[in-house]
């Protein structure tokens, strides 16, 4: 079945548009990842409007390759300037920047790109095996199990909330409330529709562009006086694979660990990188050198962060649940093209998941080559003033939002969510739980009500299916885990993953 899927996808991918999407996504990902302040979720949200005229395959190939390249490119400013391009690269900076200070910037960049390449391939192979299997099991699911899975997905708010669970819940319930606006999915009655443009609900893409990208523009305006630190000397990078020979163990371990952690919805690249770094430090023979330029630390974080991209795609493709904020945005992109991620995706639109697998594999050599050959160019990108980025991204947000619906109402939606997102960031309410709720709100409600219709209103239906009970119990445990962990007032939690 897998072989047939690949052949089917290859048949659909035989076009220059797809190749252009692959190369364009990688280049755009490098540019976005190299710029501190722009994450993969922002990049994907900004590029979705460009995909309207494209086929679903070309657009998903473009966006997935962008996602992957952004995750790697975030390491470049992290190593060279101690400024992570994406949140997960903060872990890479711990040892990568120290290596640069020792005059080993070239080696650090070479190791980071080779680690990223190996981890992405490993993660993709694990993704192919796991997602097809999960999807085949999930095909037999009815509304009760779907509701339980959706609740499990919503429970991941605990890992997206940052330092306050309560604020995470506020974001989640606000997102669920916004998802209610529009025509009711079961009875067809309008709910909270105070403008005809809201009959089909709040535009997902305009809201996303506002929450992630436009709110970041206001943050960039705030910080635009901070100029990037100038680099006196550009590093030389080589494709010396031999550099990795002493570190094959940490590389393999971190790749698998990064994938496994990120398969759990909500556990994106940042959490994977933190866990992998911590694990490697614990088992290392030289733990005291971590944070002082130990290549093991650099490899552990880079491998885990890059393996987390295919890891986060696994629940998205097989269950329709976002594994990270970036995959939540990807779900939105697929939905706009009339493709619904979930178990039926492998039977209704097999060309989509298999195109993603092929894109992840084919992009890897291109990404490594661009990383090794184009380092000097990406270094220049890190030097673009934030003020210029703020202006151009701001204009792009508004234009992209307009293009999503060819309607100025979409622009107003983006502005509303952009200002709201900025205010919420100031209140330390992260936008990721809101996006999670926007994606899962409709699925949760409609499956809850469908389940009740089949049981004639009896709530006991949710405890009659062992799988649903297990999901709901795990969801409850995940909801409660942060409260249990925080009770002894332990170490600070890592920042929420936004990609």
């Amino acid at each position: 079945m897998i072989g047939q899927g690949f052949l089917f996808a290859l048949h659909h991918m035989e076009s220059w548009d797809v190749v252009a999407g692959l190369v364009g996504g990688t280049l755009a990902g490098y540019c976005i990842g190299s710029i501190p302040g722009l994450s993969s979720s922002i990049g994907i949200a900004l590029l979705i409007p460009f995909t309207y005229g494209m086929s679903p395959i070309t657009s998903i190939v473009l966006l997935v390759t962008l996602y992957m390249a952004t995750e790697y490119a975030g390491a470049i400013p992290a190593i060279l300037m101690n400024t992570p391009g994406v949140p997960a690269a903060a872990v890479t900076a711990l040892d990568g920047y120290q290596m640069r200070l020792k005059g080993e910037a070239g080696a650090a960049l070479t190791m980071s790109i080779l680690s990223a390449g190996f981890a992405s391939i490993t993660g993709t192979l694990l993704l192919i095996g796991s997602s097809t299997w999960i999807a085949s099991v999930a095909l037999a699911f009815g509304p009760v199990k779907y509701f339980a899975i959706a609740v499990l997905g919503l429970s991941m708010v605990s890992s997206l909330s940052g330092d306050s669970m309560l604020k995470g819940f506020i974001g989640l319930f606000f997102g669920l409330a916004v998802a209610l606006i529009g025509t009711d999915p079961m009875d067809g009655v309008p709910r909270y529709v105070f403008n005809d443009n809201l009959l089909s609900g709040v535009g997902f893409l305009p809201a996303l562009i506002g929450l992630f990208a436009l709110s970041s523009v206001f943050s960039l305006v705030e910080k635009s006086a901070d100029m990037p630190a100038p680099l006196k000397k550009l590093p030389s990078v080589s494709g010396q694979v031999g550099l990795m020979r002493p570190y094959l163990g940490p590389l393999a371990r971190s790749s698998v660990l990064g994938f496994l952690v990120s398969v759990i919805p909500g556990h994106g690249a940042t959490i994977s990188a933190f866990i992998s770094y911590g694990f490697q430090k614990r088992i290392s023979k030289r733990p005291e050198t971590f944070g002082h330029g130990n290549p093991e630390g650099l490899i552990a974080s880079e491998a885990a962060a890059n393996a987390s991209v295919p890891g986060a795609l696994a629940p998205m493709l097989s269950l329709g649940i976002p594994g990270s904020a970036s995959t939540a945005v990807l779900i939105g992109a697929l939905t706009l093209h009339g493709v619904q991620p979930g178990p039926l995706l492998f039977t209704r639109n097999p060309e989509i998941p298999y195109s993603i697998f092929i894109a992840l594999i084919v992009t890897m050599p291109l990404m490594v080559a661009l990383g090794l050959a184009g380092t000097r160019l990406w270094v220049r990108v890190t030097q673009v003033p934030r003020s210029m980025i703020a202006g151009l991204v701001g204009a792009m947000c508004l234009l992209g939002s307009y293009a999503s619906q060819n309607d100025l109402f979409a622009v107003w939606t983006t502005i509303f969510f952009g200002i709201l997102g900025y205010v919420l960031q100031k209140a330390k309410i992260h936008p990721a739980p809101i996006v999670l709720a926007l994606v899962l709100g409709n699925i949760t409600e409609s499956n809850f009500r469908r389940s009740l219709i089949t049981s004639r209103g009896h709530l006991s239906i949710f405890v009659t299916h062992p799988f649903a009970v297990a999901c709901l119990l795990v969801a409850l445990a995940v909801f409660l885990a942060p409260f249990v962990r925080r009770a002894p007032a332990a170490a600070p939690a890592p920042a929420p993953s936004t990609h």
Binding site: G53, V189, V221, E222, M388, G391, L399, I415, G457, L459
Partner: protein, 134 residues
């Protein structure tokens, strides 16, 4: 968030539906808005208990606040300009001051960025993607 939660709670009363109980289109909005109100009240209560509410302004700091407000104002102005002047003229008038507010002060760079952005969007959106501009 408290106000938004209350708006959703009371707004649920305006939903016209024949069905009743948990299966009705009112039940879910009521539950969600109740949870939002509860969380907002808990957050306020927690802040009060810690004596932080009065110091909220000290906890939230905004660098360059007037520039951020100006950027928001400019953003609100953009769709109004676009509706009356069309995309190209509106963007040509809007982008240079927005770049200035964002902190970029080199006139040549501003002119080049504005011209480059307009050419880029014309090529990509109008010629490649076929998106009609207002």
């Amino acid at each position: 968030m408290l106000a938004i939660g209350l708006w959703f709670w009371f707004g649920a009363g305006w939903i016209q539906s024949q069905s009743r109980g948990l299966m009705s289109p009112i039940a879910f909005p009521r539950a969600i808005s109740a949870m939002l109100v509860l969380c907002a009240v808990l957050l306020i209560a927690r802040s009060l208990a810690r004596g932080r509410l009065a110091k909220a302004s000290a906890l939230v700091s905004v660098e360059r606040p007037w520039f951020v407000l100006a950027a928001m104002g400019m953003t609100i102005l953009y769709p109004l300009l676009m509706a009356s002047l069309g995309y190209y003229l509106a963007t040509a008038l809007w982008l240079p001051p927005f770049l200035w507010i964002a902190g970029y002060r080199r006139p040549v760079g501003i002119a080049l960025a504005t011209a480059g952005f307009l050419v880029f969007t014309r090529v990509i959106f109008q010629h490649v993607l076929g998106t009609p501009m207002p």
